[in-house]
């Protein structure tokens, strides 16, 4: 993936994700594999979710961290490749956010650690939807006239 103007989007139908306390937690609901990325990785995921292009992400990381752009570009491309291989993101056809810089308040540069996608394949049977049901949307799930029972 060389075109830095491309944007990614989380695969929202099967992938649940949220940045909590700076750490991105990502779960593939179809197979229960879960992922974490902290610090730089958390920022990158946040920017991916907000619709930023790869170029904007690389710039954002370079502005915030004490690191050369070339290093960030290489790390981001490697990370993105892994996220694509793990089926967590897809290339997006949508435009970016209205204000690409709004996620990045200026501040002192901090020490850089290369982002890492931690992969956990240990709890698949527990964390996959029980049972895995990607087609949930087809179901007339709720009858408002009835109370849920335990």
């Amino acid at each position: 993936m060389k075109d830095l103007h491309q944007r990614l989007r989380p695969r929202g139908d099967e992938v649940a994700a949220k940045v909590i306390d700076g750490e991105a937690i990502i779960i593939n609901l179809a197979n229960g594999i879960y992922y974490s990325m902290d610090k730089v990785g958390g920022l990158i995921w946040d920017m991916v979710q907000s619709g930023h292009s790869l170029e904007e992400i690389i710039q954002g990381v370079t502005e915030r961290y004490d690191v050369a752009r070339e290093k960030v570009e290489s790390d981001v491309l490697e990370l993105v490749g892994e996220m694509l291989r793990e089926n967590l993101v897809a290339v997006s056809e949508d435009g970016g956010p209205a204000d690409p810089g709004s996620q990045l308040p200026p501040g002192e540069k901090v020490a850089y650690d290369a982002p890492k996608l931690n992969i956990y394949r240990d709890m698949g049977d527990l964390l996959a939807l029980d049972p895995p049901t990607p087609g949930l949307g087809d179901t007339p799930w709720k009858d408002p006239g009835e109370e849920p029972s335990n």
Partner: protein, 265 residues
């Protein structure tokens, strides 16, 4: 109803018959008058004894109490203001006295050999802390069209039951792992099993389908299916945080019994 194994199961050692431990069967229920009677019958149909049955009524306003009352002294009854299924399960654990604990949702059914097959695992493996079974959904007759639609899909296939209704656990496990987190609305069971795995609890997963989950119009799982997965993400984050705490023996990667499903993508 399917029978996953033919014939009755004999526990291994007849000498131990006098020492069969008491299993407390805890049934949390909220407005469950429609199916509760069938759930209780599936407990009484168990081939294992001795059993203690405790219904925890989580603030029902329907005829739940009357269904329990019809069973007389065979069923213990506790009432609490509505506090959720996790709180009801916890109340049952605290109020019961069995050396082993099992749960049954008020709209689900156990296979008659559920408990005897699980207990035989504890006899074979004294180190075992908890035993799970596979589960399968069944649909109420009014939802036949939905059943047809999902006939060949995962919703109609058996799956490893990481849910209380598929669990038989030593009471001592609740002392080490703790109770269910009653602040969680949907993911209290997954949170509990995560904590159990962090403690390296010894688990067994039976290949047999011994729990049948009834799909009707008001399952909590339907509500969960359309709810945001934020709670799931939060319990995974909390688990990772616990595993990283200094001085904690919990491993980075946890271990579950092999279900034979492998990794699905």
């Amino acid at each position: 109803m399917e029978r996953s194994r033919g014939g009755a199961v004999q526990l291994t050692d007849p000498v131990k018959k006098m020492a069969f431990p008491l299993i407390s069967c805890i049934v949390p229920v909220f407005n469950g008058e429609r199916y509760l009677g069938e759930a209780l019958e599936s407990i009484f149909a168990q081939t294992y004894r001795p059993l203690e049955v405790v219904v925890v009524d989580d603030g029902s306003t329907d005829g739940t109490a009357a269904v329990v009352g019809a069973h007389g002294e065979k069923v213990g009854y506790l009432f609490q203001p509505n506090a959720g299924v996790a709180a009801a399960c916890n109340r049952g654990v605290q109020a019961s006295r069995g050396e082993f604990i099992a749960f049954l949702a008020a709209d689900d059914l156990w296979h008659p050999q559920k408990l005897v097959l699980q207990m035989s695992q504890f006899q074979n493996r004294p180190e075992l802390d908890l035993c799970l079974t596979h589960m399968k959904n069944f649909w109420i007759p009014e939802l036949r069209a939905e059943e047809e639609r999902f006939r060949n899909q995962p919703l109609a296939q058996p799956w490893p039951g990481y849910l209380p209704q598929a669990l038989l656990a030593r009471r001592a496990v609740f002392e080490t792992v703790g109770l269910f987190d009653a602040t969680l609305r949907y993911e209290d069971a997954k949170d509990w099993f995560l904590r159990a795995a962090e403690r390296e609890t010894v688990m067994e997963l039976l290949p047999d389908i011994l729990v049948y989950r009834r799909l009707h119009r008001a399952n909590i799982s339907r509500e969960k299916a359309i709810a945001s997965p934020v709670e799931l993400l939060q319990i995974v984050k909390a688990s990772l945080n616990r595993r990283r705490r200094p001085g904690v023996a919990s491993p980075q990667f946890l271990k579950l019994p092999d279900s034979g499903r492998g990794e699905k993508t």
